[in-house]
Amino acid sequence: MKILVLLSQVPDTTARIAFTNGNTQFDANGVTFIVNPYDEWYALVRALELKEAAGAGSVTTITVGGADTDATIRKGLAIGADEAVRVDAQPTEALQVAEQVAAYAKDKGFDLIIAGKETIDHNGGQVGGMVAELLDLPYIALASKLDVAAGKATIERDVPGGVEVLEASLPLVLSAAKGMAEQRIPNMRGIMAARTKPLTVIPAATTDNVAATTSFELPPAKGAVKMIPADEAGKLIELLHNEAKVI
């Protein structure tokens, strides 16, 4: 079982969101960066579990980014990935990232390529599907459960009103949602081992330039909260009906 996990670096979930350079850039000042939670908790951990269950194979992570992402990539190695690849390019937009990943993966014979369902900064959820199209592979978005047996994957995903159970042959591309695995905390041995595991930097491929984020803005500040005494709690229902008009 040869598995590729797409790993992005994102600001910590508690990071203060602010912008700089005339609101054209994220203000990274004082911000801690982490592995995108969907990539780490679900995609990477499930990949490791599948490899462990099979008793053979490898888990490779791939990141598109500059040298500033190396520490984040090492976190993936500390959790248990066998090797990491960094495409030496600044990520600008989904198709550009997907083309970089596809250019690397196309002749490597991965059985599974797993992305997180989205990054928590750009929230696009696009790269997995784009990689699948570029490699002519099936793609299942938002998988919450993944099992592999005899060259076939069984996948569950939440759909409106229930859960869909799907089957597809390998090779296959997936995006991983909550439920697929439980977060793993790297232990000291993993952290030590990560220092010497291979992190290969490869040059960027040529990509298309189809879109770019030009500016950011913060949502308008919320008005003051209207407090209702607990003993008169029923009034809330009346206000929601007559004032907010939502029920």
Binding site: T14, L95, I120, A168, F216, I228, L236, V246
Partner: protein, 312 residues
């Protein structure tokens, strides 16, 4: 050049988000558009009201096989000479739109929240903590519309329905089983949501939460610790790492409002917070607040909701 819109209409009725996407496409085009769908849906003529002049339906396709559906969409796009392809930013749209964009080398807007200004589209980023303008420079554009971003159009006429007759190739993904969730409103589409957290003290106390949801016709949701402790199923977890929702009303009971939780619900139109801690950060994000014990407040809300239902 024209605009087409791809929607999933496999449910019992036309989904609101699909009607919104057709409306969005029609407004982008400044006139009638062609809609594409699949499966056995009936009543597709009604999409005329949202601005579809024609609905092309691939009857033989029943599963979300991204490769078949990508072929369907790009085939119709080529025939219609379409340079703009609209999707719903839902599970089906997320499976197909990125493929179509990659195939056509098109810029893809994942989750447009409004009509564009020129070639710039507004979308949520940082889990709703900010918004970004994405400029699409490619000749062909793929736009996935975030549900609940545009009012459903009602003024159009009736659409003609055509069956797609092309060959979409074999399905590489098969549906083994669909397990229906229990009765109640599915969370991602719910317009009203009643959510509760650790303040409920245990899963045995959820009866009151469910009763309020039932009286309001709302879906139930929960915070991450509650799902992690298995008090409630994972699909009810709303927040940055669970489901992100944007209902008209979000009532949060016994949830303190950590930044990760807020990220999943801050797009709600009206937020009500009930918490016994007046310092709970959630109050800063709320429109209405009650400082009080959930076990004291909830019965009063249920009673008032019953009274309102009796009156209308």
């Amino acid at each position: 050049m024209s605009t087409i819109v791809f929607i999933d209409t496999r449910g019992e009725k036309l989904p609101k988000a699909a009607q919104e996407a057709v409306t969005y496409a029609s407004k982008l085009a400044g006139g009638p558009v062609t809609a594409i769908t699949f499966g056995g849906a009936s009543g597709l003529e009604a999409l005329g009201a949202q601005g579809a002049s024609k609905v092309i339906v691939a009857r033989g396709v029943t599963a979300v096989d991204g490769q078949q559906l990508t072929k369907l969409v790009t085939d119709v796009a080529a025939k219609e000479g379409a340079n703009t392809i609209v999707f719903v930013h839902d599970g089906t749209g997320k499976s197909v739109a990125p493929r179509v964009a990659a195939k056509l080398k098109a810029g893809h807007v994942a989750g447009a929240i409004a009509l564009p200004e020129g070639d710039k589209f507004k979308r949520n980023v940082f889990s709703g903590k900010a918004q970004a303008w994405l400029q699409v420079s490619s000749a062909t554009k793929v736009i996935s519309v975030m549900p609940n971003s545009i009012p459903v159009g009602k003024d159009g006429g009736s659409a003609t329905v055509e069956e797609y007759s092309g060959d979409l190739g074999p399905a590489r993904i098969t549906v083994k089983e669909v397990r229906k969730a229990g009765a109640g409103v599915p969370l991602p589409e719910a317009e009203l949501v009643v959510s509760a957290g650790r303040g409920m003290k245990g899963p045995e106390n959820w009866g009151m939460v469910e009763e309020l949801a039932k009286e309001l016709g709302a879906a139930t949701a929960c915070s991450r610790p509650v799902a992690d402790m298995h008090w409630r199923p994972h699909h009810e977890h709303v927040g940055q790492t669970g489901v992100a929702i944007r209902p008209n009303l979000y009532i949060a009971i016994g949830i303190s409002g950590a930044i990760q939780h807020l990220a999943g619900v801050n797009q709600s139109k009206v937020i009500c917070v009930i918490n016994n801690d007046p310092e709970a950060p959630f109050f800063k994000a709320a429109d209405y607040g009650i400082v009080g014990d959930a076990f004291h407040v909830l019965p009063k809300l249920v009673e008032a909701a019953k009274k309102l239902n009796a009156e209308r």
